[in-house]
Symmetry: C2
Subunit: 178 residues, 2 copies
């Protein structure tokens, strides 16, 4: 049975803006106002069959990304980040970050790029920006399988939702040591 | 009628390495040797129908990109470029560059990123790196619909194909004024 993709889209609308929607709107604001140029990478798709008579893809599958979802440029610097949502009120499970994504984050830091995650605790109405360096230090110095909310409160940057831009994460970049 | 996507792939093999293949191999070399981190963006695809019972995409179409195909990081700097092949022995048609791509290139320069095209003249066995600034100056100061080969010879950077890395474009970046 086949469903239209936009069925899924309208579900997002019903339950309010997703983190992805908020970030896309924010990036659009940054672009229009010449603040930064940040794009969501297209979802990688493995194409199996193409009907060349009308350039229609008739069989394809979603592939898992080995990098982070968003990248771009801010003040000449390379930026890359991912957006993660959790239903938990107490912690963010590290299983949300794929092993190859973590390797990738380390490479971005090696090349002097700026990397981070934006984590939304949906049921707490809270959004945090956790710099890659802080994330990696946590993982390497803990046996825990999740990052507790208290760690976010004490060691990361809170971002409040505003009317416009929705999620003004870029100003935090100016504060980061890189 | 549906063809397998890999039929197209094997055609590339038959007629030798495509520019895209050369760049992908070069980027892999840069990655493994910690020189730079450059990725080809997934081709944007507009998904029309998904069979959620097995996460299979059953109808989708190729969308035209509004940015350039490759981006990444080199020495902390944001890099973005596109690869273009031409059969012509005399010039490179500007119709190869979409209007929205040109607008995008200007935005990358505004944000102090490094942008360029790698142009392959297939039948001349020649590859040139043309910096965005040089490209835009040409377009804005000429009525021509194509860039003659002599312009490439005199105003851009020649890149010779080597065994490894195939197309060592990154060392040219060090010479660019940005």
């Amino acid at each position: 049975m086949s469903y239209q993709y936009n069925i899924k889209k309208s579900n997002y609308a019903n339950r309010g803006m997703s983190l992805e929607d908020d970030i896309n709107l924010t990036n659009e604001y940054y672009k229009v106002n010449n603040i930064a140029l940040i794009y969501k990478k297209p979802t990688p798709i493995k194409i199996s069959k193409v009907d060349y008579s009308n350039s229609k893809i008739t069989e394809a599958y979603f592939a898992s990304p080995s990098t982070l979802d968003y990248n771009g440029i801010y003040k000449g610097k390379y930026i890359e980040f991912d957006a993660k949502e959790t239903q938990s009120k107490t912690s963010f499970a590290l299983s949300n970050i794929h092993k190859h994504q973590l390797e990738h984050i380390k490479k971005v830091l090696y090349h002097q790029g700026i990397a981070f995650l934006i984590v939304r605790f949906i049921n707490l109405n809270k959004n945090y920006l956790i710099p890659a360096k802080v994330l990696i230090e946590f993982i390497e110095n803990n046996q825990r399988k999740s990052i507790p909310i208290t760690f976010f409160e004490e060691n990361t940057y809170n971002i409040d939702i505003k009317y416009i831009p929705r999620l003004d994460y870029i100003k935090i970049i100016d504060k980061l040591e890189v």
